[in-house]
């Protein structure tokens, strides 16, 4: 195995081009676990952290462009991100321990392509777009289109994610992400739910994006959930409808972390709770 | 004679008696006497037992004295963690 730490995107693309068994290293919190477990035996590891800009958070078009090597801890310390996309920041903050937070990244969480990745439903709800670089140039891709199947992404050979773009939050808007785990920390999500919504002047839901994690082979954007609350005040009836739609939309499996029935039920529970938080944030309340 | 209380399944192997009498003044004499008088107990005795004498539990000390009025109870060999 070889290790390279290129200083530019071009160098990284060159290093990865045509190299079989090459893996990109950002935070490494998934990659090193797989390496150690001998699930992967790379020929080459390309550390992208020394590429200019990879560790920066930059304001762009009213939103934020987050370098692929920005850690969860750094996001949590960024006042602008925390103010605009608290749900995304909280979601990335849920990944692993304080120690893991010191390294784990949004891009890595996405490329690991686990259906249970915490930050991914939050990014999907936020309408995040990633900038993919590779031998054929640069392209912007919606986060929802990156995961293909458990452990697999739509990235082509030699491509990697250079940054994640969170769009402008918009007026009267808020987001939230909740997950269910058996302990209070250190577990993989049994169910995750991200919601981003905007309210109209009357406090009705003007637009919403609702996503679910860990209840299907990949993250899902639940359009029916958004439709269920569209134009409504988030009263008990609306929340109950939201919960029912999310429970129905979930297509989970039984595994060591949870059962089908449990995951379906909790999908609705989390959607309801996350919606209340997102609504409060959209109203400018502390939540 | 010392009266020895046997646990339930051990009693079955000693002919059904929950209590047997053995001529013994020490733990060693007690264990030897039980094996001699009740051959059915031998496999369990060979696997090892603990013995409660007047409420104190002994595992190994052969020459622990046993009085004729002592309360003697055989126990499965204790394990710990």
């Amino acid at each position: 195995m070889r290790f390279e730490a290129p200083r530019s995107v071009e160098e990284a693309v060159t290093a990865l081009a045509g190299q079989t068994g090459a893996h990109v290293l950002a935070g490494g919190t998934d990659l090193l676990v797989k390496l150690r477990a001998e699930m992967i035996e790379p020929e080459l590891i390309v550390d992208i952290k020394r590429i200019a800009g990879m560790r920066d958070v930059v304001a762009e078009d009213g939103g934020w462009r987050i370098g692929a090597a920005v850690s969860g801890a750094e996001m949590g310390e960024h006042a602008g991100l925390c103010a605009d996309w608290p749900g995304v920041v909280e979601a990335v903050g849920l990944i692993g321990s304080t120690q893991v937070q010191g390294r784990a990244t949004l891009a890595g969480n996405l490329c690991n392509a686990s259906p249970a990745a915490d930050s991914v439903p939050a990014m999907v709800a936020a309408g995040a777009v990633v900038r993919v670089v590779g031998p054929k140039g640069t392209r912007d891709v919606a986060v929802i289109d990156i995961p293909k199947a458990p452990g697999k992404t739509t990235l082509a050979a030699g491509e990697f994610i250079a940054s994640v773009f969170l769009p402008a939050r918009g007026a009267r808007s808020g987001d939230a992400y909740l997950r269910f785990i058996p302990r209070t920390e250190m577990d993989i999500a049994v169910v995750g739910c991200g919601i981003a919504l905007s309210l109209d002047a009357a406090g009705r839901v003007a637009a919403a994006r609702v996503s679910l994690g860990a209840v299907g082979p990949k993250v899902m954007l639940v359009d029916a959930a958004a439709e269920a609350i569209q134009g409504r005040v988030l009263d008990e009836a609306a929340l109950a409808d939201l919960a029912a739609v999310c429970s129905a939309a979930a297509t989970p499996i039984d595994d060591k972390r949870g059962t089908v029935d449990f995951r379906r039920h909790v999908s609705g529970v989390l959607a309801r709770r996350a919606a209340v938080i997102a609504e409060a944030r959209a109203k400018g309340e502390q939540a | 004679m010392v009266k020895v209380l046997l646990w339930g399944s051990l009693a079955d192997l000693a002919g059904g008696a929950r209590e047997v009498a053995v001529e013994a003044a020490t733990l060693r004499e007690l264990l030897d006497g039980l094996a001699r008088d009740h051959p059915g107990l031998r496999p369990e005795l060979d696997r090892g037992v603990s013995v409660s004498i007047d409420g104190r539990i002994y595992n190994d000390s052969w020459f622990t004295p046993i009085g004729p009025e002592s309360e003697v109870v055989l126990l499965k060999r204790l394990q710990g963690g």
């Binding site: 477990a37 269910f180 302990r183 920390e185 | 646990w7 339930g8 109870v73 204790l78």
Partner: protein, 748 residues
């Protein structure tokens, strides 16, 4: 000289205080050397190839390609060990599979190579041809006729006809007439309870460093709860004389019973023997979970009858414990301890030891008792609540006391159960208000505690300070406790004594650090060794003063003339006597070798408040209080630490920890990610109340305290969750999906 046999509380100067531990600085600075921290010149790395099948016949192992790989210095399989004595046959078969691999992770071969990378590569070159066999991992399934049988012909004479060969033994305890007693009850609860298999979960993986010389001498550095056990077992397996194998215990990073057996050690020695080089082996976490530890999973039927005033009329439990691939589940201990806290006229327990395709169960803190207590204490709680009675009052009414005939046979001497119950009953926790979705549970627990072979050597140095050598690895502060007892007995300051853990070449046989025995048994031997040294020092003073030995007594660290005819001499301190030791007969020491008997049994009562989320079934522990009899708390901080640690391990067992096997018999959660031990944010502070009912079998009244604290929490938490959720939980762990499903089923 006059020496009191027992000290009274008011006399203690050191015991009962909280000095800093002698190994503290090493452990907070990273200097302390644990199992994996040792190196030797020319050292090789050893690694183990493990079975990917739950049950398979090993048809052929071809190691030739691995042996040919450059850098590989030795390859070992079961064949290298040949025939071994009967008493270690199962031990080596568990360390290295023979004809069959009996569980996922069972070792089948090992290599030693000059780097970890080469060793890893070599494992891949070992070809093993398996014939995969049907497997069974569930205890009830393993007992059924027709279940895949692990070992033909191993069933003991105690098992009636009609059971699978996996049922190894049956045991029965009790007295009275259970059926007649149940007939007198106003209500009988009859339920089946199940517990998952848990792992001891020590944070330090098993590790050792072995060397073997051509002349047959061996040395082993190892993290273990008992290096004398390691010596004896490894010597038997390798056909060595015990005196030729010197074992040194490293600092030990947790054990809880899981390091009372060997796993790597015989293999490392064999690799060292074949390679002629030192071999270091360190397990990965997944190896620890797949192939060491765990405890038994259980299925337990309980029937208890109660009068409406709370009096128990009869109690019955049938306990089925699968202990993994070899006989020896802790069902005997479970059967003996199940009803130990109660004064019962009619009681019976039946225990079944069952093998299955899982790693062989190792002891885990009060082995066998927590599961039995979970079942029994749940049933008692259900009865008490059903009659609208105070669960603590019911336990006080039925609780065992001095003179009670224990369910396992003997009559109790002075014991502390009632004291713990009374302390719980009057504690503010018991009457604190509870909120919505919250519940409070209580439960009692019992453990035997042991003594066993123990040696202590106490030496007085020329400057009059003292060294104590003991042979039991210090797993939770025992060097501090021994130092305290030596200082107490000698009447000198704590910092004038240093205690070390000696290697197997330095002391006689020592029983493993288990059964909560160390503070009791090693403490007893330390006190006796100090008394021997005091006698010698009194003798030296008598020589110097020219008076009779009998006319000298020891007090406050000095020899003093005593009695009317002793004469008037100023006291001679330990330092003064030590300074002239060479002139008065030579170096001064005391030592004591004993098979300690008379460890006092111990009882505890736990109280816990929980909140259950009605929407998700998630349980949060809100408040927890432990009440336990310590006999005498030598270092109260470490007693509290045992209470707290045991309680939290029990909370983990109750809520989240379990071995999860797939249909394929493969362990699905062999890592700390999905084997979920409690984390700091899961817990509140764990309050403790230490009761002190002295053990008459120890000079200072000490009882073991380490194991009892894990006995009550499974039931205490289950009783609290059942109260909060409004439905009786009978299966552990009470994971959120199980609690939610139970709540939904109860709602209909």
């Amino acid at each position: 000289m006059a020496l009191d046999d027992t000290k009274k509380t008011k006399d203690f100067k050191v015991v009962g205080t909280r000095p800093n531990r002698p190994d503290g600085i090493d452990k907070v600075t990273g200097r302390a050397r644990f199992g994996a921290d040792m190196v030797a010149p020319g050292m090789l790395t050893g690694r183990i190839l493990r079975s990917p099948h739950a049950h398979a016949r090993i048809l052929r192992i071809d190691t030739s390609k691995a042996e040919a790989l450059p850098g590989v210095k030795a390859v070992v399989t079961r064949a290298d060990f040949g025939d071994v004595p009967d008493h270690v046959a199962n031990v080596i078969d568990n360390c290295m599979a023979g004809d069959k691999a009996l569980y996922d992770g069972h070792a089948v071969a090992a290599v030693a190579a000059n780097s970890a990378a080469v060793a890893r590569k070599a494992l891949k070159l070992i070809e093993v041809e398996y014939e995969v066999l049907p497997h069974v991992t569930d205890v009830d399934a393993a007992m059924k006729p027709g279940a895949p049988v692990l070992h033909e012909g191993w069933q003991q004479e105690t098992v009636p006809a009609g059971y699978s060969g996996n049922v190894i033994s049956r045991v029965e305890f009790g007295h009275g007439d259970v059926e007649a007693g149940l007939a007198k009850a106003d209500r009988v609860v009859a339920r089946t309870y199940r517990t998952g298999a848990t792992h001891q979960g020590y944070i330090e993986p098993h590790a050792c460093l072995a060397t073997m010389s051509a002349d047959g001498q061996g040395d082993l550095w190892v993290c273990t709860q008992g290096h004398y056990m390691v010596r004896n077992v490894c010597a038997a397996i390798l056909g060595m004389e015990q005196g030729q194998l010197r074992v040194t215990a490293s600092e030990i990073g947790g054990g809880f019973g899981g390091k009372t057996v060997v796993f790597l050690e015989p293999v490392a020695l064999m690799l060292a023997k074949k390679s002629g080089r030192p071999v270091k082996m360190v397990m990965s976490r997944s190896e620890v979970l797949r192939a060491t530890g765990p405890t038994a999973s259980t299925s337990i039927d309980v029937r208890i009858g109660m009068k409406k005033d709370g009096r128990i009329t009869a109690a019955f439990a049938e306990l089925r414990y699968q202990g993994g691939a070899y006989p020896g589940s802790p069902v005997d201990m479970g059967s003996m301890s199940a009803f130990a806290p109660y004064d019962l006229e009619n009681v019976k327990t039946v225990g079944w030891d069952v093998v299955s395709n899982r790693p062989k169960a190792a002891a885990y803190r009060a082995p066998g008792a927590p599961m039995a207590a979970f079942a029994v204490e749940s049933a008692i709680d259900e009865l008490a609540r059903g009659f609208g009675l105070d669960p603590l009052a019911v336990r006080l009414m039925n609780g065992a006391k001095e003179g009670t005939r224990a369910s396992y046979g003997p009559t109790y001497p002075a014991i502390g159960l009632i004291a713990t119950l009374e302390a719980a009953h009057t504690h503010p926790h018991w009457t604190a208000p509870l909120g919505e979705n919250q519940g409070r549970g209580v439960a009692c627990g019992f453990w035997f505690n042991f003594g066993g072979d123990t040696c202590v050597s106490l030496n007085v140095t020329p400057d009059g300070t003292v060294t104590v050598s003991e042979g039991n690895p210090d797993i939770g502060g025992s060097r501090a406790s021994m130092t305290m007892m030596a200082a107490e007995e000698l009447g000198i300051p704590y910092d004038q004594v240093r205690t070390i853990i000696a290697d197997t070449g330095s002391l006689g046989q020592n029983e493993v650090t288990d059964g909560s025995r160390v503070t009791f048994a090693v403490g007893l031997a330390t006190i006796e060794a100090a008394r021997a040294a005091k006698r010698e020092m009194c003798k030296r003073a008598a020589m110097i003063w020219g008076i009779d030995e009998e006319a000298v007594e020891w007090e406050d660290g000095a020899a003093r003339p005593a009695g009317p005819n002793a004469g008037k001499f100023p006291p001679m301190t330990i330092k003064e006597i030590a300074a002239v030791a060479s002139n008065t007969g030579g170096p001064i020491a005391g030592h004591h070798e004993v098979t300690a008997e008379g460890a006092g049994v111990s009882f505890g009562t736990h109280m816990v408040d929980v909140e259950v989320d009605p929407d998700t079934g998630a349980t949060r522990i809100l408040r927890y209080t432990v009440f336990q009899d310590a006999g005498r708390a030598v270092h109260p901080s470490y007693v509290e630490g045992q209470f707290q640690g045991g309680a939290v391990q029990g909370i983990g067992w109750a809520l989240n920890e379990e071995y999860i096997y797939g249909e394929d018999g493969i362990l699905q959660n062999a890592g700390f990610l999905d084997y979920r031990i409690p984390v700091a944010s899961d817990l509140p502070m764990i309050d403790t109340v230490i009761l002190e009912i002295p053990n008459p079998g120890h000079p200072y009244g000490v009882r073991g305290v380490g194991e009892t604290p894990i006995v009550p929490p499974l039931a205490a938490v289950a009783n609290a969750v059942s109260a909060a959720a409004g439905v009786r939980m009978t299966r552990l762990p009470m994971s959120p999906p199980r609690v939610l499903a139970a709540m939904q089923a109860a709602k209909g």
